[in-house]
């Protein structure tokens, strides 16, 4: 029962992630939304699956995937932002839009 509620919450995160990609103006704010919301959606779904599977072989692997995503997803967003910054995309907010 719990995993249904968690899955429902993750739908909300996924929808916000989709909106976030198109609504924001420059690359950095898009990176911000995608890395944050995407990681949270992944964590919510994986925790919901762990609740669903209880104590079994599935949960061990799901916990491993959960830890892996928590570590790597922000790092990959950071790497993208770093390469964007070093190649000269300015961070300052454009006037107007």
């Amino acid at each position: 029962m719990i995993y249904r509620i968690l899955l429902f919450i993750s739908w909300v995160y996924i929808i916000f992630g989709m909106i976030g990609i198109f609504r924001f103006s420059n690359i950095y704010s898009r990176l911000l939304t995608s890395s944050k919301i995407d990681t949270v959606a992944a964590m919510t779904i994986l925790i919901a699956l762990i609740f669903k599977c209880g104590f079994s072989v599935f949960s061990i692997r799901l916990i491993l995937i959960l830890i892996f995503i928590i570590i790597t997803s922000p790092i990959s967003s950071h790497v993208i932002a770093r390469s964007a910054y070093l190649n000269g995309i300015s961070i300052k907010k454009e006037v107007g839009k």
Binding site: R4, M18, I45, F58, I65, F68, I69, S73, S83
Partner: protein, 90 residues
């Protein structure tokens, strides 16, 4: 086979998200939006694999999802390094 409606709906939503980030990849003016879309797609693929593995009660799919995560992470870091420094030098 008990049908888990919630899992199926989540998979469908994730597939829609992948198509939308594909559109983002096509539109994206700069290279980094494309990298961002690639990052999103690989993260979503891990989720779809994990959910499908749980849905079908097949443990091997979860290992596939984990290894796909490693490959996706390496892709992003090496691609951004390629963009930063360019290939071809020792």
């Amino acid at each position: 086979m008990k049908t888990y409606m919630f899992l199926v709906i989540t998979i469908i939503l994730l597939i829609v998200t992948i198509f939308i980030s594909l559109i983002r990849m096509i539109i994206g003016p700069t290279v980094w939006e494309r990298l961002l879309a690639l990052n999103l797609i690989s993260a979503k693929t891990i989720l779809i694999l994990a959910i499908y593995g749980v849905y079908k009660e097949n443990v091997l799919l979860l290992d596939v999802a984990f290894s796909y995560g490693i490959i996706g992470f390496l892709t992003i870091t090496l691609l951004s390094r390629l963009i930063l420094k360019g290939g071809r030098q020792k």
